[in-house]
Amino acid sequence: MSWKELNQAAVVKGGTSKDYIVSGWRVNKPVIDEKKCTNCLICWVYCPEPAILRHEGGKVTIDYDHCKGCGICETECPPKAITMVREP
């Protein structure tokens, strides 16, 4: 990109990192068992990315584009509703 096209002084609009996909970083991916999930949002407050999306009424889903597979959600989930599954 020419110097004329770059943002002046490398100033960036906030939040653009979401365009960067990090799914390739992980080995295992978290799978939520909706029947066991109590919508407590503990996984959400502990996710480093965050790759856990909040929906109405405390429902959560995984943002698989941005989950790095760290496994914290599985470890911390109180009703053990999340399982880390080996990705093919």
Partner: protein
């Protein structure tokens, strides 16, 4: 047209403080260091009397001074700082940060020689050591010029075609402390000239921006190129600013000041306060039949190459005076710039590099005449500067 408030006898430092107060600066962030201390003391007086509307941060170091200035400037506020020698060297890292982040901070530098050994007196080694930092650099010759330049630099730096920080340099003690006549302007005239800063990108929750991201080898060079281009733009914008400044003040200095350069065959190029003394020496020599001239360089970065070429092109000999040493270099910093400009411009005259005034060593009118004589002898060219005035 000349909207003078009053005529005062002010020290260089005092004139800076007065200009900062009148320029409606929002934040001053500075740490005291001789010979700049009077700037911060005067500003503190203004604060205590309720005469300074902005915020004064008495930071705990020069590095923090420019860091706080950086943070303040990123909010879109008008920001000023001041330092000298050791302080400038201490904050050196931040000079590149501020200029790379394209923040229009204005800084006054009361030039002082760098330690070791420690000395409080003037030479230009402090700013010359930072000349590649991407700051616009001006050198003043007298106190009224310091006052005028401080005002002009806010306008120059804040121009969207520039958005580079700038420094007004003046010799410590010689200009920072000596009282000279200054015709101060009415505040309204200055504020009309400057307006309020209108910075586009700033820290604002309604539009969250990220300042200071890291780059990669793929993009860093291009960001520096942007800075380089802005520095080029500054040459033209500088003229515009001086033009507009002249309209309300009646005062104009130019990027260079020439005395007798059109008729001279030997021209001395010099920056800083000694230019006046050298002009006096040249006038006396010319009265006895010599053909010498003096070109004072006021705008140092961006370097006014075209103007130098037009003034020096025909001279057979050019003496360049440097008030700083670069040990091991083939010439002093200004001499290197002059030689490169002339060579790059296809001009083939002889350029003599003379180092003078180191650590506050005085340069008299007689010294000026001796240096012109040295140039006539033709012996003092070559690949090392003449160390004029050192006790051998």
């Amino acid at each position: 047209m000349l909207e003078t408030l009053r005529v005062s006898a002010l020290q260089g430092d005092e004139a800076v403080a007065e200009a900062v107060r009148q320029c409606d600066v929002d934040v001053v962030s500075a740490y005291p260091i001789t010979p700049q201390t009077i700037i911060v003391e005067k500003l503190a007086e203004f604060v205590a009397d309720g005469k300074f509307r902005g915020e004064f941060i008495p930071v705990e170091s020069e590095h923090s001074a420019l860091s706080a200035a950086l943070g303040a400037s990123a909010t879109g506020a008008r920001v000023f700082t001041a330092t000298s020698s050791q302080g400038l060297a201490y904050l050196h890292e931040m000079l590149y940060n501020v200029s790379g982040m394209r923040l229009p901070i204005v800084m006054a530098v009361a030039n002082r020689a760098l330690s070791a050994p420690l000395v409080l007196n003037a030479d230009h080694s402090d700013m010359m050591g930072s000349r590649d930092s991407g700051w616009i650099q001006l050198y003043a010759e007298n106190v009224e010029e310091i006052y005028d330049r401080t005002i002009q630099l806010f306008k120059l730096s804040e121009d969207p075609r520039v958005m580079l920080p700038s420094a007004i340099n003046f010799e410590g003690f010689i200009l920072s402390h000596d009282k000279e006549r200054v015709r101060l302007f009415k505040e309204e005239a200055i504020q009309k000239f400057l307006g309020r800063p209108r910075i586009k990108d700033k820290l604002d929750p309604s539009n969250p921006l990220t300042f200071g991201a890291i780059a990669t080898p793929d993009t860093y060079y291009e960001f520096r190129m942007q800075q380089n281009e802005a520095m080029k733009n500054a040459l033209a914008v500088f003229d515009e600013v001086e033009e507009e400044f002249e309209k309300f003040s009646g005062r104009r200095y130019g990027a260079v000041d020439s005395y007798n350069t059109d008729k001279a065959d030997t021209i001395m190029v010099i920056n800083g306060s000694a230019a006046g003394t050298m002009r006096a020496a040249a006038r006396e020599l010319n009265a006895t039949g010599a053909k010498v001239g003096v070109l004072a360089v006021k705008l140092y970065r961006p370097f006014p190459a075209e103007q130098l070429l037009s003034h020096l092109g025909h001279a057979s000999t050019v003496i360049t005076m440097d008030r700083s040493i670069s040990p091991g270099a083939p010439a002093g910093p200004l001499a290197e710039d002059v030689r490169s400009t002339l060579h790059g411009g296809g001009v083939d005259n002889l350029v003599m590099s003379v180092v003078y005034g180191i650590g506050g060593r005085d340069l008299s009118k007689e010294d000026g005449k001796k240096i012109f004589a040295l140039a006539k002898e033709g012996k003092s060219f070559g690949t090392a500067p003449v160390m004029y005035g050192v006790k051998s």
